[in-house]
Subunit: 225 residues, 2 copies
DNA sequence: GTCTATAAACAGATAGAC
DNA sequence: GTCTATCTGTTTATAGAC
């Protein structure tokens, strides 16, 4: 479907407007309440559209779900793709580590940030627990390329084989921290006695994760000079 | 299953049997598919009980949800409570660190293990994203006491203030890794090319987390002798 | 306590006018 | 493309026999 030079700007027919509104409302509501807990009536209402328009544009509720996933995949790919591509650490361990830290901090900003990305993050994380078409889409378009790059950088930084268990699981353990702080935010906030999750709180979390990255690299470096 | 002196043995009337079966089926299905995605018919069928019995015993679907949460809270408290109470590191940093590692490895075994605990873990993690009565129950009976103890041990091991940001968030970052490996298991398994999640895979994950714990302690130790 | 039968509300999907 | 009205199935909850 689509064309899509950047996203949907060039081919803005009349219907694409409500189509887009439905997808955005879908991402928001599916992310906030879950797929099953969200009714098509809610979505249509939130998008200021008619109930029947979901069937017209996407064939049904499940079609909307898939369209949301593809939208999320495209959006993320557009944001994170260029960043990953621009990284070229050569074979300098220090540069590789700096790049690794940069990517993780970027993911943290994306996942923990306040903006519209919050809906996308919620939707994505939720779908990761339900194997299916959406899972495959997000895995292929976001998880796999990002994780591969992370392994490459972490392998360079430590001098370890990028595809070893240590590096692959190590990268997951670091990225997992960020994801946990996203999912378990309510728990963390209650324990930390945070009223809201503002930039100051996000910064504190990032400091901890950054420390853990450096501790990992320092501890797992292969050749100690 | 069942028996369990500290749970429901003393007042084992006739109806308590189906009541228990409904709760167990509820935990399993709510955990696997989510609350909204699970119908009362499914639960009753899985528990070999009648649909009307849910309303009779719990007042309705929401009542069953709460009963499941209380059951989970009681169960976890019964398992983890004695362990936490038995720990007395005195003021020996090395002993405190060993105890911390022991607790986290225990949590990992619990969350990642194959057994019935898997249902409990799924149910618990799922409810953590939905603030409400269930959230409060699990937080008060499991998260808070365990996290407090973890902070105490980690504070002792590093020589830092147990209620400092560093220690509280650090404890979350370590426990969060384990929780992530539970939630994101499908992603990790696909990337690692694991067919199933057997004891060998759990052991590999535990090795990584253990390394991260030691790296954290080594890096954040206050008084370097 | 357990069951059948049914009520009342709600879900997603669709037909057809415009 | 968008709308209203409606169909069909399923949901939770309940009434009442046993």
């Amino acid at each position: 479907m689509s064309s899509d030079p950047t996203l949907f700007t060039s081919t803005e027919k009349a219907g694409d407007q409500t189509r887009m509104a439905l997808i955005l409302a879908g991402i928001r509501l599916f992310g906030a309440k879950g797929y099953e807990a969200t009714s098509t009536r809610e979505i249509a209402s939130a998008a200021n559209a008619n109930i029947a328009s979901i069937a017209y544009h996407f064939g049904g509720k499940e079609g909307l779900r898939l369209a949301c996933a593809q939208m999320v995949g495209r959006r993320i790919h557009g944001v994170v793709g260029p960043v990953l591509a621009s990284i070229d650490p050569g074979d300098d361990p220090a540069k590789a580590q700096a790049a690794f830290e940069l990517v993780i901090m970027g993911v943290a900003d994306f996942l923990l940030g306040q903006a519209e990305a919050r809906d996308i993050a919620s939707f994505m994380v939720r779908e990761m627990g339900v194997p299916g078409t959406v899972f495959d889409t997000v895995y292929a378009e976001f998880i796999l390329p990002v994780h591969r790059k992370l392994c490459l950088l972490l392998g360079l930084a430590t001098g370890q084989d990028p595809e070893s268990d240590l590096i692959r699981l190590g990268a997951f353990s670091i990225a997992g921290q960020v994801i946990y702080f996203r999912i378990g935010h309510a728990v963390v906030a209650r324990r930390m006695e945070w009223e809201i999750a503002g930039p100051a709180e996000i910064a504190r979390i990032k400091t901890i994760v950054l420390g853990n990255i450096r501790a990992f690299v320092a501890t797992n470096r292969k050749s100690l000079p």
